[in-house]
C-alpha cells in the first residue's frame, strides 16, 4: 500500500504530475502556488522520468510553451494564481480553439488586479464562462482536499485527452497552502513516442508514413468552415455535459434547505451543517466537483423538494448565478460571500443561513 504522506495541496500537485507521467511543466512563480514549481525543481524529475520542468520568463510564455507541447501530443501543464491566470487567457483560448488537451492549475487569490495573496474564489466566472475570447468551455475541477488536489491532476489530464480540450483545476488558496494526509497516485511511465502517436493521431509528431500533415491551428479564414468548427466544439461540450458532471451531496435526503459551496468553503459549510443538525435544522450540502459542467440537473431536482438554497463563496456572488439558472425561480436562492482573502468560519455560515431564512429558529 502507498504510504500516507502529509503535504500541502500545491506540493501534492507537483508529486502527482510526475507520477502521472507528465512530459512537461511550464510556469512562473506567484503566491499562493509557488510551491508547485518549487517542489518540481526539488524533485528534479528530468533526472528520473525525463519530465521537463521550466521556469518561463512570464506566464504568457509558459502557456504558449504548453500550447507547443500539447500540439505535439505531450502531457503538459502550467500553474499560476489569479493575476497570472489572467495573463494566460489568450493562450487558453487558443488551446481551446486548436482543440488541444492540457492542464491548467489556478490557485485563486483575491482580486481584482494584484489584489491580495490570501485565498479567494473570485475567478469562478473566468474559469467557467470562458476567461478568454470565443465560444469555449474548460472542464473545471474544484478540489476540496489535498487528496483531491493530487487526484485531479490525473483526472484533469485524462479528461483533457479524452475530449481534446484544456482542463483546469480551480483551487482556492486554502487547499493550496494547507497540509493534510494524502496517498499519492501510483507511478506511471511517460508515454513513448509510439504511444503518443497512437493516442493522439492528430498531433504534430512528424509526417512519417501519413499521407497528410497534421496542422495545429485555431485559425480558419473560411466562415462556413469556422462555423463548422464551432459546431464541433459545441458537440464536444454537449458530450462533456452529458458524461462528466461530478458533485457530492451531504445530508440532502431530509433537507429543507441546501447550501451550495465548492472547494474548501464546502468543508467549512459541512462543519456549519453538522452544527446546525445538532440544533435540529434540516440543512444539506451540495458540493459541485465539476464547476463546468455544472450539476444543473441535481440542483433542479433538489429545488423540487427544499424551501431554499444558499450559496457560500469567497466572492461577491458568482456560482449563485448558475444555481439560480438551475433552480429557475422555483425557490429563493441567496448568496453569502467573503472577499479580499477573508474566510468565513462555520459560525458565520450558520448566521448567514438564519439571516436569509428568518423562519429557521
Amino acid at each position: 500500500m502507498e504510504e500516507v504522506k502529509l503535504m500541502k495541496g500545491n506540493e501534492a500537485i507537483a508529486h502527482a504530475a510526475i507520477r502521472y507521467g507528465f512530459d512537461g511543466y511550464f510556469g512562473y512563480p506567484i503566491t499562493p502556488q509557488s510551491e508547485v514549481l518549487e517542489t518540481l525543481e526539488e524533485l528534479m524529475p528530468w533526472e528520473t522520468t525525463g519530465m521537463v520542468v521550466l521556469q518561463a520568463e512570464s506566464e504568457v510564455a509558459a502557456i504558449n510553451m504548453v500550447y507547443g507541447g500539447a500540439a505535439s501530443g505531450k502531457a503538459v501543464m502550467t500553474s499560476s494564481s489569479s493575476p497570472g491566470v489572467s495573463l494566460k487567457q489568450e493562450g487558453i483560448s487558443y488551446l481551446a480553439g486548436a482543440e488541444l488537451p492540457a492542464l491548467i492549475l489556478n490557485v485563486m487569490r483575491g482580486g481584482p488586479g494584484l489584489g491580495t495573496i490570501q485565498p479567494s474564489q473570485a475567478d469562478y466566472f473566468q474559469a467557467t464562462k470562458g476567461g478568454g475570447h470565443g465560444d469555449y468551455h474548460l472542464i473545471v475541477l474544484s478540489p476540496a482536499t489535498v487528496q483531491e488536489m493530487a487526484d485531479f491532476v490525473g483526472l484533469g489530464m485524462d479528461l483533457a485527452f479524452k475530449y481534446r480540450t484544456p482542463a483546469m483545476i480551480l483551487a482556492d488558496g486554502i487547499v493550496g497552502q494547507m497540509m493534510e494526509k494524502v496517498v499519492l497516485p501510483p507511478f506511471r511511465p511517460r508515454r513513448t513516442a509510439e504511444q503518443i502517436a497512437e493516442q493522439c493521431p492528430w498531433a504534430a509528431t512528424g509526417k512519417g508514413n501519413r499521407k497528410h500533415r497534421n496542422v495545429i491551428t485555431s485559425l480558419e479564414m473560411d466562415s462556413a468552415r469556422m462555423e463548422e468548427n464551432n459546431h464541433r466544439f459545441q458537440r464536444t461540450y454537449e458530450e462533456i455535459r452529458k458524461n462528466e458532471v461530478r458533485f457530492k451531496e451531504y445530508y440532502t435526503d431530509d433537507a429543507e434547505y441546501i447550501i451550495v459551496a465548492f472547494g474548501t468553503v464546502a468543508r467549512i459549510c459541512l462543519k456549519a451543517i453538522e452544527d446546525a443538525r445538532k440544533q435540529g435544522i434540516k440543512v444539506g450540502l451540495l458540493r459541485p466537483i465539476t464547476l463546468w459542467p455544472f450539476p444543473t440537473e441535481a440542483l433542479a431536482s433538489l429545488a423540487g423538494r427544499v424551501k431554499g438554497m444558499l450559496t457560500v463563496e469567497l466572492n461577491a456572488g458568482q456560482m449563485v448565478e448558475d444555481v439560480r439558472l438551475a433552480v429557475n425561480g422555483r425557490i429563493p436562492v441567496y448568496h453569502f460571500g467573503r472577499m479580499g482573502g477573508m474566510i468565513p468560519n462555520p459560525g458565520e455560515v450558520l448566521d448567514a443561513l438564519r439571516a436569509n431564512f428568518p423562519e429557521i429558529k
Binding site: 499562493p32 486554502i174 494547507m178 497540509m179 494526509k181 474548501t264 459541512l270
Partner: protein
C-alpha cells in the same frame, strides 16, 4: 478525540514549524490532521498563526470558530484569540512581551516562560520546542515519541544532529509547567 489548536505569534518565532511538527506527530500517531497556516505578509515580520486539528475521525472544516487549545506568543495574538478558546479549554502563553495578561476565568491559563528558558539553554531556536513541550505536558494529545518521529520527517537530514537538542527543549518545556 478531536483537538483544535491555534498557535499564534510573530513571524520568525517558529509558529508555523511548531504546528508542522505537531501535525507530523499526529500523522505518526495515526490521527487525521489538518495544518492551515495564515501565511503571506505575516511571514515577513507581522503576526503569523496556524490552525492544527488532530482527530481520530475525519475532519470536515480546517477552519473553526473556537479552539480547544491556544498557544499565544505575542500581545496581538492574545487580544485576538483569548476569547476564541472554548470554555474549559487551555491557553498557554509566554509572558515575555505581554503587557495585558489573559483574564478569563473559565479556561485553563498556563504561563510558559519559554523565552527565558531558551536563553538559559543558550539557543533561541529551541523556543518553539520548549512551548511544544509545555503544550504536550498540559494536553498529551500525542506521545513525545511521535513528536520525535515527526521531527525526523520535517527536518532535512543534514539537521538530524539537532534532534537531541530539540528533545531536551521539549523536556525542559514539560518541566516548566509541571
Amino acid at each position: 478525540m478531536k483537538e483544535e489548536i491555534i498557535i499564534a505569534g510573530f513571524g520568525g518565532q517558529g509558529v508555523l514549524s511548531m504546528g508542522k511538527i505537531l501535525a507530523y506527530a499526529g500523522l505518526m500517531h495515526d490521527l487525521e490532521v489538518t495544518w492551515m497556516p495564515a501565511y503571506g505578509p505575516e511571514q515577513r515580520g507581522g503576526t503569523a498563526n496556524v490552525t492544527v486539528i488532530l482527530s481520530d475521525s475525519s475532519i470536515s472544516s480546517p477552519i473553526v470558530d473556537s479552539y480547544d487549545t491556544a498557544v499565544i506568543l505575542n500581545q496581538q495574538s492574545l487580544d485576538k484569540f483569548e476569547r476564541k478558546v472554548k470554555p474549559g479549554g487551555t491557553l498557554l502563553y509566554d509572558p515575555y512581551g505581554i503587557h495585558h495578561a489573559p483574564t478569563r476565568t473559565d479556561i485553563n491559563i498556563v504561563p510558559v516562560e519559554a523565552m527565558l528558558k531558551s536563553v538559559e539553554l543558550k539557543n533561541a531556536k529551541t523556543y518553539n520546542m520548549i512551548l511544544l513541550g509545555a503544550l504536550l505536558a498540559k494536553r498529551p494529545i500525542v506521545p513525545v515519541e511521535a513528536v520525535i518521529k515527526g521531527l525526523r520527517k520535517t527536518l532535512p537530514e543534514r539537521h538530524h544532529h539537532l534532534i537531541p537538542l530539540n528533545e531536551q527543549a521539549i523536556e525542559a518545556g514539560m518541566k516548566l509547567v509541571e
